[in-house]
Symmetry: C2
Subunit: 519 residues, 2 copies
Amino acid sequence: MHWSRWGDPAQAGPLPDSALALVDAFLGTRDTPAVPSDEVRLSDPLAPDLVDELAQLVGREHVLLDHETRLHRTRGKSTPDLLKLRSGDGLDSPDAVVRPGTHDEVAAVIAWCVRRRVALVPFGGGTSVVGGLAAEREGFDGVISLDLVRFDKLVEVDHESMTVVLEPGLRGPAAEALLAAEGLTLGHFPQSFEYATIGGFAVTRSSGQSSAGYGRFDSLVVGLTMATPQGTLELGSSPANAAGPDLRELVMGSEGAFGVVTAVRLRVRRLPAVKVYDAWQFASFADGSAAMRSLAQAGMLPTVIRLSDEAETAINLARPSEVGGESAGGCLMIAGYEGTQEAVDARRSACTGLLDGLGGTNLGEEGGRAWAEGRFHGPYLRDSMLDVGVLVETLETVTFWSHLDRVYQAVKSALTESLGESTIVLCHISHVYETGASLYFTVATRQSDDPVAQWYAAKAAASDAMVHNGASITHHHAVGRDHKPWLAEEIGPVGVMVLRAVKERLDPTGILNPGVLIP
Amino acid sequence: MHWSRWGDPAQAGPLPDSALALVDAFLGTRDTPAVPSDEVRLSDPLAPDLVDELAQLVGREHVLLDHETRLHRTRGKSTPDLLKLRSGDGLDSPDAVVRPGTHDEVAAVIAWCVRRRVALVPFGGGTSVVGGLAAEREGFDGVISLDLVRFDKLVEVDHESMTVVLEPGLRGPAAEALLAAEGLTLGHFPQSFEYATIGGFAVTRSSGQSSAGYGRFDSLVVGLTMATPQGTLELGSSPANAAGPDLRELVMGSEGAFGVVTAVRLRVRRLPAVKVYDAWQFASFADGSAAMRSLAQAGMLPTVIRLSDEAETAINLARPSEVGGESAGGCLMIAGYEGTQEAVDARRSACTGLLDGLGGTNLGEEGGRAWAEGRFHGPYLRDSMLDVGVLVETLETVTFWSHLDRVYQAVKSALTESLGESTIVLCHISHVYETGASLYFTVATRQSDDPVAQWYAAKAAASDAMVHNGASITHHHAVGRDHKPWLAEEIGPVGVMVLRAVKERLDPTGILNPGVLIP
């Protein structure tokens, strides 16, 4: 991962001319380059006596202090994170990066942090877009990044129960490669797939582009092991049960504030023999979302289903290689099917019949292929925009069907009112449920002199609009630091009290990812 | 509900001669009648000054002290509960029954209990089989039963989102009648359906006989309102989200120990036009369960699927009106389909094809109808047995497929070793998941001189066998008092610490259902 851009810039390719022309016409462009990486100011490295103590726990080669290593574990990949780094501000960096290799080493590092009052930030793929990696330093004698990179194994495969145990540091592609060798898949493909990790997926409640078919990540988790300052929590006696509150659901979404997850037991599926993605056109966003609702409530969903609004369809954002090119008009839907040939045929035929009857026009497989090929490419476009004075960021929410249009309009208005004219707001639905759906917004505007403040103001307006219109502050991006005020509103004072009670009992010295999650 | 028997004894009908003959032959019979209800010893009624204070909160007509009312809210419906009452021991009775009519009245009663150090037991249908209604009196100046009977309304219907808000005191049939008027159903039909309530289903994580099609009750819950000593907790901003730990999953399974649920928002489905249940025969329990696993992992489950083991099939317990009659031999499976005619036809055809290929013999609809007609009748049989010196009780567990046979054998052995010869142990699978399944055991044996102690010893042996063989202490019966020691083993000391932290923060004086759930 690049220190101030998404992914591997060699994979980014140039921005399509059509896209650049579009941006130039709408927003204007100017050069806004990043500072060189060695000019980024970081925190002071951890004191040598503390480093020596950590080295005794995990080995000296696994305690790293150099500029590059610490820079790469500074904040996450939100646009404000990137803007700060590009401007030379790396002051949220960890003072050291520590790489334990076993659960017991993690437990030992946690115990050491408690003794030495050093804050600990668990690090997986570093892809947080909500400030989940920017610990509060106040009151601590240092901040370390606990890098889970050495937790990279497939620990157990149970072909009969169709479960596996994976270590938390495995990135999406590495996890899928290990599973593919067993003929299995998680089917979890969020846009961050290429860099995000199994542990991160679990503690942030990730949701992938195939969630309609394979389920949200939290629905795949059947067990977890978490090291805490009070000892180890082992959960997952069974697929489902009535043995009191489901504590797995407390670990999921905990973002390192309750402990460090060191193993995850997951439901898996057989590798699909067939994957096919159809493109569909609907006259309007309302027609397309009504069709999605019909499918969801009929229990007849494709594996992948997403719908771009009119603006996103016009700009072709669902197909990054074609951004700015000619679009189909109306609203583009992708309906994808994965599984055995027989299952795909049956499901595709049933869904096609329903979509036909619901006003859809089948555009065939070509548009679906273009989406599938570009599906992980979106974040690279953002970097190209940040280079030319354009601010691009995304945010997302989820609500019940009966609130969907209200929330859609309210968030769009909040963003355009906050950012002013020459702002482009695009939206798609990419996760649907019987009772509701997600809304994922992409925003582009001309950068002001203080683009970080510019974005936070717009984000606050959008977040207010979500919470006041009966939507959640986040469908799959988690809470981090950025969503805390709205989480407090969403779960209310008694909900906050419960989170604090758990936090204070498990982590009484508060060393675990301080400042994150807990309002 | 009868005070010492299940349901309405007028509905019980006589025990089939075939069943009585079978029991007489295997276990022998003798008369073991219950004492008359007015001879049951109850706790002293609540002190008059406290009654006066409660009357000010909810109205005098809603504070009840009479013998019958208190007797009917004494303990639940486990066999030990019934045996104690039949012998005249009602000392776990509430000192008063209080019936608030609004959320604010519930909150006021809770606040009063905190001030007066009076324990509060929420009461819905009174069908707990795990001691969930037997509060610990030690340290309190009284125990009240907070009866939710007046919470009986359908508060809201959202046809677009397919959600409803129901009040917690609604029993299964009343809730379904209100929904049917809207063309809707929950599809939640546990054996306790006729008496258990919406609130009870939620706080015990109930699972119904149609769980394969409609889902466990916890999967139907999208929102909850709970009154606690610290204020009101309102959850359920959206179908699913990433806004931190899912606190709904902490309320579900909380059994009144964290607060009193006063409203539940639920996912609903359209009333099925067609319901059809097929009977199937498999050569063995192993063959039948392998077939269930294939269906679950192919994503091709009927709405209802259950499989009796050889012993349960032989005794015909799946069809109560035919107990002791001629059985099909092998293992009986019921596969039921509900929905539109088109959906039922498609699903039934696909499942029938799979079951044919997996060694099943289709016995047609007659056996399925017999099961459906007798599905809520099982508990009545138990009462007839308790009358004639036979101890009958059930227990259940859930585990992963790869542990299923081991757990089945271990629990059976534990029960027969504990209860000695002349013990009948029957089992069925009635809830299946991609990763595992439930096991539901029915046990019959000759009553000893102390049948309560006799059963608790057997239950302990069975519970040890579950936890030591990788199964949960309960699939859908909750924790109550009876499962606490094994819950502690299942979630470990850190898990117990989390439950205690939440309990102590929300209910620092410990008045909420003391002794229940929290190890």
